[in-house]
């Protein structure tokens, strides 16, 4: 084994031409049951090249995070993928070459570009995306945030989409938006839309500031921050902007990644917003759809040193198996990503990044996308972190990092600390790119969570999870009837042997991305799930299922 590792290290020094050899060696290094990935970009057909539309002038939109989404567009049980793309700056000239791209999952192995046929061509400068069934018709619709008016695309149910933005009234003006999430703020069974807005960027001001900007280009603090937006679903295919009435516009920050969950366990859905260089925002729901921003009181506004970091992406999961969803936030270089552990009884967080070691490896880098998922099916959530500086000449400015660096996988050991397995997870993890958004789902239906990454100004990557099948798993698809059909906000407790796992169905997460339509539970060696408890939004009673077989995909209808 040691010899194999030595070969691997030597091989790292070789050129891209040794790619195949690296794949083999990467697999050789994996310990039994250790997390491993293989790059299947070419074989999967997921050939997508992101372009930031930059002209070397370093406009702020070029440096933003960029998302992607996994969702089942055609209801065939396979997750399809929607990649976002830039546009030519500063004119924002429409160009088919720079359109967003939609790839249909054909058989779990192959993807085919169906962008034009499906009507998912989007020529705006796109930054964030989320998928949700806003009209409860059983088909996933898309909401896309842009540098410019946002877009909502209705899934017609026949594999095509229609632009319903003007009818729905959700363009949100002509802003610079970032993350977005569908959520049901009042548990009335339909989905609202929360949009994180960044800053009021304008090219003229950039040109004034740029000549004196060294070594960094003008940043978010050079432009006024925008308040976020909340659209209320009227239930008739239209939305109403309730940002003011709901209290959402009471504050403004350069918002990026967003996620919504019941952090304080009071039965309604709250919102967390990662802000770039200012205090993060935590909107606490009073149960009626009115929100109060309480990030400082709940301990998620700043890190444990009182610093408001350049926060980018965010994900939620129960990291320490205490039945509460925790928050993990990615940050700028030289800023440790923040793991905010939700403290019992819920709603107050303790920043525990150092104690858990979750961000140790990525400290020198700018981090963006993030996924808290159980890659090795051992019953706890690991972390995948997408890295890469926003400047092409980053190495000259900050020698510890670069525009292209490797992504990281941190394995959760004993629900308390993390360790890096990036070097042993296969050659796919040895490639240096400047990654932004990542999505984490089981694309090939083998019970293991795969990864697809959008790389800035480069080709996307598909990483197939090839971890040994020593551990068991269970996947749960939730279908709401009286609640929203996507079951967003539904909580699930899974009892298996002596272990108890908790998950909450969330929407719109990571680096302005969307994934996780199906809940995934690693079960380790357990051969039986003793009990599943499901609590649908707005309902204190739990639905219970006993004695379930492992290694299956379970569809549970409310």
């Amino acid at each position: 084994m040691r010899f194999a590792r030595w070969i691997l290290l030597a091989a790292v020094m070789l050129t891209v031409g040794m790619h195949t050899m690296l794949q083999v060696l990467g697999q050789l290094t994996s310990e039994e049951g250790a997390i491993a990935f293989v790059d299947t970009t070419d074989s999967s057909g997921l050939i997508f090249r992101h372009q930031d539309g930059g002209t070397g002038k370093r406009f702020l939109p070029e440096h933003m995070g960029v998302g992607l989404a996994s969702f089942d567009a055609d209801g065939d049980g396979l997750l399809d993928i929607y990649f976002l793309n830039g546009a030519i700056l500063p004119e924002l000239t429409p160009s088919l070459e720079l359109s967003n791209h939609f790839f249909r999952n054909c058989d779990g192995q192959k993807f085919v570009d169906f962008t034009v046929a499906s009507g998912l061509t989007e020529l705006s400068y796109s930054l964030g995306v989320t998928a949700g069934d806003y009209d409860n018709d059983g088909f996933q619709d898309l909401y896309i945030t842009n540098f410019g008016p946002n877009r909502m695309l209705h899934n017609n149910g026949d594999g095509t989409f229609s632009d319903i933005t003007p009818v729905a009234g959700v363009a949100d003006g002509n802003k610079f938006s970032a993350g977005a999430t569908f959520l049901d703020i009042d548990a009335d069974g339909d989905l609202e839309i929360f949009v994180g807005n960044y800053v009021s960027f304008d090219f003229a001001r950039h040109h004034i500031l740029a000549p004196a900007a060294f070594p960094y280009s003008p940043g978010p603090r050079d432009f006024p921050a925008l308040a976020d937006t909340l659209f209320l679903n009227n239930g008739d295919g239209t939305y109403r902007n309730i940002s003011h009435d709901s209290g959402i516009d009471s504050v403004a920050g350069p918002s990026m990644g967003v996620v919504a969950a019941d952090f304080d366990v009071d039965g309604d859905i709250d919102i967390f917003v990662a802000c770039d260089g200012t205090a993060n925002l935590h909107y606490v729901n009073d149960g009626t759809g009115k929100f109060t921003e309480e990030g400082i009181l709940t301990g998620v506004a700043v890190d444990s040193r009182g610093v408001a970091n350049g926060s980018m992406g965010v994900d939620v999961a129960d990291i320490n198996a205490d039945g509460l969803v925790d928050l993990f936030v990615t940050n700028y270089s030289d800023q440790l990503p923040e793991l905010f552990l939700n403290q019992p009884p819920g709603g107050i967080f303790e920043e525990s990044s150092r104690a858990t070691q979750i961000g140790t490896e990525v400290f020198p880098h700018v981090n963006w996308g993030v996924g808290l998922v159980d890659f090795d099916c051992d019953g706890d959530k690991d972390a995948f972190i997408c890295n890469g500086h926003l400047l092409e000449n980053a190495k000259e400015i900050e020698s510890r990092t670069d525009f292209g660096v490797r992504n990281s996988i941190m394995e959760n050991v004993s629900n308390r600390t993390f360790r890096s397995v990036s070097n042993t997870a296969g050659s796919a993890l040895l490639q240096a790119r400047s990654s932004r958004g990542g999505i984490f789902d089981d694309f090939d239906l083998d019970g293991r969570i795969d990864v697809v990454i959008l790389n800035s100004d480069s080709f996307a990557q598909a990483l197939k999870n090839t971890t040994d099948r020593h551990n068991n798993w269970l996947m749960i698809e939730l279908v709401g009837t009286s609640v929203n059909r996507d079951a967003i906000g539904t909580k699930v407790w899974l009892h298996s042997g002596n272990s108890l796992q908790f998950a909450e169905k969330v929407n719109g997460r990571g680096d302005q991305s969307h994934y996780g339509a199906t809940l995934h539970f690693g079960l380790g060696k357990s051969t039986l799930v003793d009990r599943i408890e499901i609590q649908w939004p707005g309902n204190p009673l739990k639905q219970i299922l006993n004695n379930l077989e492992v290694n299956q995909r379970l569809k549970i209808v409310q």
């Binding site: 050079d222 403290q343 104690a355």
Partner: protein, 462 residues
């Protein structure tokens, strides 16, 4: 920058430089009239260190000196790129002229670390430690570097060496505690912070770290106590307030937490203020941080050249330091000392006047100013400064009284000399002071005798 910040910076500088033996930055200019030991303003001074100086010793006939330096009033904000180049050039000048001096490499490493060139920084600190492995300043720098690269285990090992060398400053406990915390070894982190606060009970940074660790260890009442003690010492900083709010909320003390939340919000708004139409907030923040570091590095260069007896270059870099921020007093102190070494008394006088302007209640600055004024034969200015020193600082009033007595003795104002000495002797009837009083009596008698002889000669020799 307030005095507290100046002192904090001074402490940091001391920590970084003491290990190398570069003491210039913390030595106040030795008063000419009454030589002082190497003390900081707040330190106590033993009367044993005083010596009587006669007029003839000090009143060297000087040509009418003219100050040549034009002292800066406001920060000289050179372009960022130019400042970065200048820092690199300063480090290169040091290492080229004094490659065998560990201090040169220590500063060069600090420059590279500041400019985020970690490989070079590590190389230079390694050179520094190879030349001088027994001073702990470079170890602390190296630990910071290793931490920034995520090499926490290595940082812990480096910091353990500092303890092995006998380093026990608060910063050493702080960095080691944080290194354990970074490594996820919370029990040892807590242990280190506890030991640190026992050794340095009034160090706010250690108390903040202790509070943070206690909070993570669910020792909430203890955490609240530590953080409140830190606030009592340091004031309500972002770090302390944010930590305390969480600790209070976790104990369901929402009302108290809400009050602090409002204060924290105000601090956060200050640090993330909205940009103006004409200014670049992002660049401004970057430049401000760089200038602060540049100040420290230029001052370090000044100290290093001073130690190597290159007073011309030391002067150049102390001057660059005060150009970066003329409101920080330590740079002025360094400049005054190096000017003194070059006997540029008129310039020293101007520099010391600035020090007094910056810290008008600092009796040591006033006494030093008096000393130089005396050197320049301006006894009136000297007397005025000493009188002010008596008035502004009770802790140093005795010393100022003695200096005044010596001034009066030197200028033949024996009655005033007696009065000044009597004031001190009333509370400190030490032998040294009584001897000084005897000197005054003796000089008084001699003066009268001289006058009598002069009169006699005038009468007998018309």
């Amino acid at each position: 920058m307030d005095l507290r910040s100046v002192r904090a910076m001074s402490r940091l500088l001391k920590l970084l430089l003491v290990g190398l033996g570069c003491s210039a930055a913390i030595i106040l200019v030795t008063i000419l009239l009454t030589p002082l030991p190497e003390v900081e303003a707040e330190s106590a001074v033993s009367l044993n260190d005083l010596s009587v100086t006669s007029v003839s010793d000090n009143a060297v006939a000087l040509p009418a000196p003219v100050a040549k330096l034009t002292l800066p009033d406001v920060a000289n904000e050179v372009p960022t790129r130019q400042l970065q180049d200048e820092l690199r050039a300063a480090a290169a000048e040091l290492t080229e002229l004094f490659p065998a001096d560990a201090g040169s490499w220590h500063i060069a490493a600090q420059v590279e670390f500041e400019l985020l060139q970690s490989e070079k920084a590590e190389e230079y600190w390694n050179k520094c430690l190879a030349l001088q492995p027994k001073h702990f300043g470079p170890y602390l720098g190296m630990a910071d570097l290793l931490t920034s690269k995520g090499r926490f285990e290595d940082a812990i090992e480096v910091l353990k060496k500092v303890f092995a060398l006998g380093g026990s400053a608060p910063e050493v406990y702080l960095k080691l505690g944080e290194a354990f915390e970074n490594r996820g070894i919370l029990d040892q982190a807590l242990e280190t912070f506890t030991a640190g606060t026992q050794a340095f009970p009034n160090d706010a940074d250690l108390l903040a770290g202790l509070g943070r660790l206690q909070s993570q260890s669910n020792l909430l009442p203890e955490a609240e106590g530590s953080l409140k003690r830190a606030i009592a010492i340091r004031g309500e900083t972002q770090q302390l307030l944010s930590s305390l709010v969480v600790v209070l909320m976790r104990q369901e003390k929402r009302e108290e937490a809400s009050t602090l939340r409002t204060k924290l919000q105000q601090l956060l708004i200050k640090t993330s203020s909205k940009p103006t139409s004409s200014d670049s907030a992002f660049q401004r923040a970057y430049d401000a941080a760089l200038r602060q570091s540049a100040y420290r590095i230029f001052e370090g260069c000044g100290n290093a050249f001073y130690e190597n007896m290159r007073f011309d270059l030391a002067e150049k870099y102390f001057f660059r330091a005060i150009q970066q921020d003329p409101k920080i007093v330590s740079g002025w102190v360094g400049l005054s000392e190096v000017l003194l070494k070059q006997q540029k008394y008129a310039d020293v006088y101007q520099v010391m006047k600035r020090m007094v302007e910056l810290e008008p209640s600092n009796a040591v600055h006033l006494m030093n100013l008096a000393s130089v004024a005396f050197k320049l034969n301006d006894t009136q200015a000297s007397e005025a400064a000493l009188k002010k020193a008596v008035a502004v600082d009770q802790d140093h009033s005795a010393l100022a009284h003695i200096a005044l007595a010596k001034l009066y003795l030197a200028t033949g104002k024996f009655e005033l000399a007696h009065q000044s000495l009597d004031t001190v002797i009333a509370s400190d009837p030490s032998l040294e002071l009584k001897q000084l009083k005897a000197e005054v009596y003796k000089a008084e008698v001699q003066s009268k005798q001289t006058a009598a002889d002069h009169n006699a000669r005038r009468i007998t020799q018309p």
